[in-house]
Amino acid sequence: MSVIEELTAELAKLPGIGRKTATRLTYHLLKQPAATVTRLAETIRAVGERVHPCTVCGNLSEVEPCPICADPRRDGSVVCVVEEASDIGPIERTGAYRGLYHVLGGRLSPLDGVGPDDLRVDALRSRLGNGSHVREVILATNPSMEGEVTATFVRGVLAATGVRVTRIALGLPMGGELEYADGVTIARALAARREMGEG
């Protein structure tokens, strides 16, 4: 196998990239200056060597513990549970959450062979053990069937800890219009309706 075919085969292993796209990317790289290609290769190598899951929360980081866990200004009484490290970014960008995180490393999906042992649930339980300051765990798994069942599972595991367990709200997006929303989302929004306060 030539090095061109090898690169194409490696790129085709990435999610969402088929053989055709991999070939196109390979020939695009071949047209770039050598320095550009070297920089890309070194960045990929650096990511592989230097980025690791934080031993506390599972977030991907170059330092141990990760900057969020190490930040003394964060609220250590709240832990937001997400499926993947990539889910932390969108929550952080809102600027509305100042607590800590816990990355499960996936979601329950028996059809894909992902069971409870594949998730970092024991690590979460350990974080809530004796001496913990955590008072609330927010389950922010995705609003899909697998995400919901994962939330159900985590809630069950945490039931004995006595920590308050909440679930992120599901419903209509800001800026959306009822007329164009699907029935499933509207039904969820109705079920999760809340009392309107004065504030």
Binding site: G113, P143, M145, E148, T152, D182
Partner: protein, 246 residues
């Protein structure tokens, strides 16, 4: 050709940045793989419709010799959301979906579809204490509808009448009479267990109450039967998950 058919989403996974590949059990076309383009965009008309176990009407552009069809729309009639509220319900539904995904065909099998729809409804709605029975009934009945029925009415070997205490021959796929079962290894099924197996194969979950160890034995028997006669010993992770959970 745009086709509309009753359908159930068995599995859905991302494809590229914005699309999803959805595996559907359809009433009119059997199991189909479809692409839902742009399904994960925030303003996609698919919205939250493409969730596993959702039941509804699929509108898809279908060409008979194409592996991947294009999903135009999916109108949900029942999301079976309560499956996610209890792990045992969801695990059984996932095992059922795996069974249909693996062994149903890309051709009309309305009986298989109707069995799946009925089983999902039962798993969603039965009281919590009936879930183990509904799960066994769902899986055994779907095996029967897929054409792998165990022999539970007469001796699988000689068609003779069954005694009160009857061994199940895994190799032959059914119950054995007293004469044929003489010296057969493994456990034997007595009255209630046999009645329960009979009910499960017919898709009925209102079997006589069984002690927990007997229910576990029924689960083991079902899993071994599937592995031997249906799956040819290939791994079935969702089925294993269901068996290990309960």
């Amino acid at each position: 050709m745009l086709v509309s058919t009753p359908a159930i989403i068995l599995h859905a996974f991302p494809y590229g940045d914005t699309s999803k590949i959805v595996r559907l059990a359809t009433r009119d076309l059997g199991v189909q793989s479809v692409i839902a383009k742009g399904a994960v965009r925030p303003k996609s008309p698919f919205g939250a419709r493409l969730q596993a176990m959702s039941e509804g009407t699929a509108h898809l552009y279908h060409r008979s010799h194409r592996d991947l069809q294009t999903l135009s729309a999916f109108d949900v009639t029942n999301q079976h959301a309560s499956l996610a509220a209890e792990m045992r319900r969801y695990a059984a539904a996932a095992a059922l979906a795996e069974l249909v995904l693996r062994f149903a065909h890309e051709e009309p099998q309305p009986v298989v579809y109707d069995g799946l729809a009925g089983a999902l409804a039962a798993l969603s709605e039965v009281p919590s204490e009936a879930v183990p029975y509904a799960a066994l009934a769902a899986l055994w009945h779907e095996i029967v509808l897929l054409g792998f029925a165990p022999t539970v009415d007469a001796c699988v070997r000689c068609r003779g009448t069954l005694a009160d205490r009857t061994p199940f021959s895994l190799a032959e796929g059914g119950l054995l009479c007293a004469r044929c079962g003489r010296g057969a290894g493994g456990g034997a099924l007595r009255g209630d267990d046999r009645a329960a197996l009979h009910a499960f194969a017919a898709g009925r979950w209102d079997a006589p109450p069984l002690p927990a160890p007997h229910l576990a034995a029924h689960r083991r028997l079902l899993v071994r039967f599937i592995q031997r006669h249906v799956a040819d010993d290939r791994a079935m992770p969702a089925l294993a998950f269901w068996e290990g959970l309960t």
